[in-house]
Symmetry: C2
Subunit: 160 residues, 2 copies
DNA sequence: GTATCTGCAAACCCTTTGCAATAAG
DNA sequence: CTTATTGCAAAGGGTTTGCAGATAC
């Protein structure tokens, strides 16, 4: 019931993260991990950030308010992936990029080779292809990834 | 007209690589690069190897007959990608894996999480999805990648 | 002959890890 | 209290790069 939820004009939207944060805390406790302020700060900043990010961006973002060492970020990422909060999405310039997954629908990516921005889309046929091919090959699938690369509309215009 | 072309019993099949090698040499000359024995040895060993590989495997394979330094392999890979001979396929355990692309039809991958083997398949819908989404998003696409991960049939059987 | 390429070793850079101090439960 | 977690700094490990000698053309 938050009016700010989709208002980009609000610099620090007071999105209600309680459900997601509880899910993450629950995951930690269930698995014998501790709920620390560092892990909460990391998870919170990711939950506020629907976009793609890398470790450096996260580190710099956190540094302003709740400094957390890169070591702790690197140690937290596998936990967040295991908890279903995060997913690795792709490698660029030799380092990994992640995205928030929890509470979002599965989607694929368009990657611009010029400006390196990522655009998202959904295509229901992809799940069908996954199922059909897996059946044909006797594979027990657990997921799929589809990516298109090329030039986004802005970069096409720029290069004319 | 080589009888050995598809005969796995022949250890070192005398496949006719002249067409592919000529294409690569042509690429080098056209772009002002030199045709060296190292580049020829690298390209030849890849053309004989239709499977996926990484730099270390290539290095060890070459060492037996025509030793080439890793530095030269790393320097040759971008050229081979640019020439359309190779493509990066995926990252595993922190290092990149490649596959031969030249003269082969486009395909996608099934990746077994247990044995780490890669299986290939073709699905024509994927190209259609690429076109449709690109049109919708005003994107000028240059390629796509689709991957399914899970357990291959052998590993499912093993784990029962 | 001249400019590119090679091999070697060092540098890079992202990520992981050992360790002593700190904090969660 | 006990054990997990943190931050720091050092180590790892794949990839890149500077440089002097070798080689393609």
């Amino acid at each position: 019931m938050s009016e700010d939820r989709n208002n980009p004009a609000v610099a620090e939207p007071s999105v209600d993260l309680s459900e997601e944060m509880d899910a993450f805390r629950g995951f930690l406790k269930t698995h014998g991990y501790r709920v620390t302020k560092e892990r909460e700060a990391i998870a919170e900043s990711i939950l506020k950030n629907h976009d793609h990010f890398d470790v450096d961006e996260l580190f710099l973002y956190l540094r302003a308010k709740t400094p957390v060492s890169k070591a702790s970020i690197y140690r937290a990422i596998p936990l967040m992936i295991e908890s279903g909060l995060l997913a690795e999405v792709y490698l660029e310039n030799g380092h990994m990029h992640y995205e928030r997954v929890y509470g979002r629908e599965h989607h694929s990516h368009l990657r611009c080779l010029n400006c390196h921005r990522i655009f998202e889309f959904s295509a229901p046929e992809l799940g069908q292809v996954e199922k059909r091919i897996s059946r044909q090959e006797g594979f027990k699938s657990e997921g799929h990834k589809f990516e298109i690369w090329g030039l986004c509309s802005a970069c096409q215009a720029e290069k004319r």
